[in-house]
Amino acid sequence: MNYPDHLRYTKDHEWAELVSESKVRVGITEHAQSSLGDIVYLELPKMGRELKANETFGVVESIKAVSDLLSPVSGKVIEVNSDLTSNPGRINGNPHLEWMLVIEAANAKEQFGTLMDSGAYSKFVKSL
């Protein structure tokens, strides 16, 4: 699997995309969607919620499994993809494009830099 170079990754299989100096978009990886199987339910936080890095921000469920979603960075939730909560199955089709939320933090770029790049994440997934 090809993990896009412009994204950064967590050990819990979320990806982050830096959309500006202070904003990060978040979703789950190809590995996450393929381990879960057919995704049928997605629960996302309310706008404005303050999240800490590694804090649970939501839940994704496939037919068989329930999995917590953990925030890759600390910051405030400023956008929530409510279309995706109505059609969570789209995550299976395009995991690296189907974003879940946008988090704002003054030091977003700095936090983004501490996450695994695609090479490190690919290696990590292979080791599982």
Partner: protein, 371 residues
């Protein structure tokens, strides 16, 4: 070390995603749970159920003993007929559910859940030592059987291309012996999906050949190999009980919908009968019901269930999933009997929040309407 079935290598070749299922390394899915589920509802699918346990009870006293150990009435079975039944303990708790096949006047095959093989064999051995009358031979033959289930409306057409017996002559819950792919097999018209289908019992050595022949013969019928994931959603849509979920030693037959296989009037004493009679006379206090989500939350095993006031806990979820057929969240819950009526509002605590459900008629899908 996880146990493997004789079909393990076939699962790997087919790209099965292997998981630990009660100590067995089995595929949870191959191509995708929803696809596999739909293949069984619309065409056919095959499942490796070789992990199931098989015990043989044979010799003088076999019928008497099976009737003493199980809740259903085995004396009503003709040779080659099968019945769904249960093993209970002396308190009326369910030790396991099983299928009893009568293979001869005094010969029975008991098919039990994989996770319960040792427990059941111990239970039956103890029962045999207490059994008065001629004692039949009880043997655990689980290692000598592989089992392949073929399920779905095209099952008969596919299996017939490989079987030397006339499958049309095997009625639901009957079986026959003969050859499949030239290999000695016991073919039963039974299953766990709500669809027409068969369970084929063969030797471990013959299993890969038959498995692959079924996939080839079924190719133009849209056959798919199916994993444990689809097996679970298919049985859940029918509200078939699963041991460890709906059925445990802390549940009795009358509160779990197994009253119909508990024959208190049969011409034989059986283990648990005094306790179960008392439960029946007093009236069961709980009921196993189907619940349907009125929102989007998926109920899962162990989640608490509250009544319409949202304050009083009335039971818990035993199984739940997103129904691939209905595209809605469904579940089975063991709740106080007063809430069992279809249409009753219930609330299920999913993580922090209460989600609205209603008790609904089951099976969740109406097989009759489709035909």
């Amino acid at each position: 070390m996880l146990k493997r079935t004789p079909l393990f290598e076939e699962h790997k070749k087919l790209g099965g995603k292997m998981v630990d299922f009660g100590g067995w390394e089995l595929p949870v899915q191959y191509s995708g749970l929803t696809q596999e589920h739909e293949a069984v509802r619309n065409h056919c699918g095959i499942f490796d159920v070789s992990h199931m346990g098989e015990f043989r009870v044979q010799g003088p006293g076999a019928l008497g003993f099976v009737n003493f150990a199980t809740t259903n009435d085995a004396s009503t079975l003709a040779v080659f007929q099968a019945q769904y039944s249960a093993l209970c303990n002396s308190h009326g708790g369910i030790v396991d559910d099983l299928v009893v096949y009568r293979l001869g006047e005094q010969e029975f095959l008991l098919v039990v859940n994989a996770a319960n093989i040792e427990k059941d064999f111990h239970h039956l051995s103890a029962a045999l030592s207490h059994f008065e009358g001629p004692k039949p031979q009880l043997t655990n033959e689980s290692e000598q059987f592989a089992q392949i289930a073929i399920q779905g409306p095209a099952s008969s057409a596919v299996l017939q291309t490989l079987a030397d017996m006339n499958l049309e002559e095997i009625k639901t819950y009957w079986c026959s012996v003969g050859k499949v792919c030239g290999e000695s097999s016991l073919v039963a018209r039974t299953g766990y999906t709500g669809e027409d289908g068969f369970e084929v019992y063969v030797t471990p050595e013959a299993a890969p050949k038959i498995w692959n022949a079924l996939l080839t013969a079924g190719a133009h019928f849209g056959i798919l190999p199916c994993g444990l994931g689809a097996r679970d959603t298919l049985r859940l849509e029918m509200k078939f009980a699963l041991y460890g979920h709906e059925l445990t030693e802390n549940t009795n037959p009358f509160e779990t919908g197994l009253g119909w296989i508990t024959k208190l009037k049969k011409n034989s004493e059986f283990i648990g009968k005094p306790a179960i009679s008392k439960i029946k006379d007093a009236g069961p206090t709980r009921s196993l019901v189907g619940i349907l989500s009125l929102g989007r939350g998926i109920p899962r095993q162990g989640y608490e269930v509250f009544d319409e006031t949202r304050k009083t806990r009335v039971g818990f979820v035993t199984s739940g999933t997103q129904s691939p057929t209905l595209k809605k969240a469904i579940g089975i819950a063991l709740i106080e009997k007063k809430c069992e009526k279809a249409g009753t509002r219930l609330w299920v605590k999913i993580r922090e929040d209460l989600h609205e459900f209603e008790v609904c008629k089951t099976p969740f899908i109406d097989k009759k309407k489709e035909n």
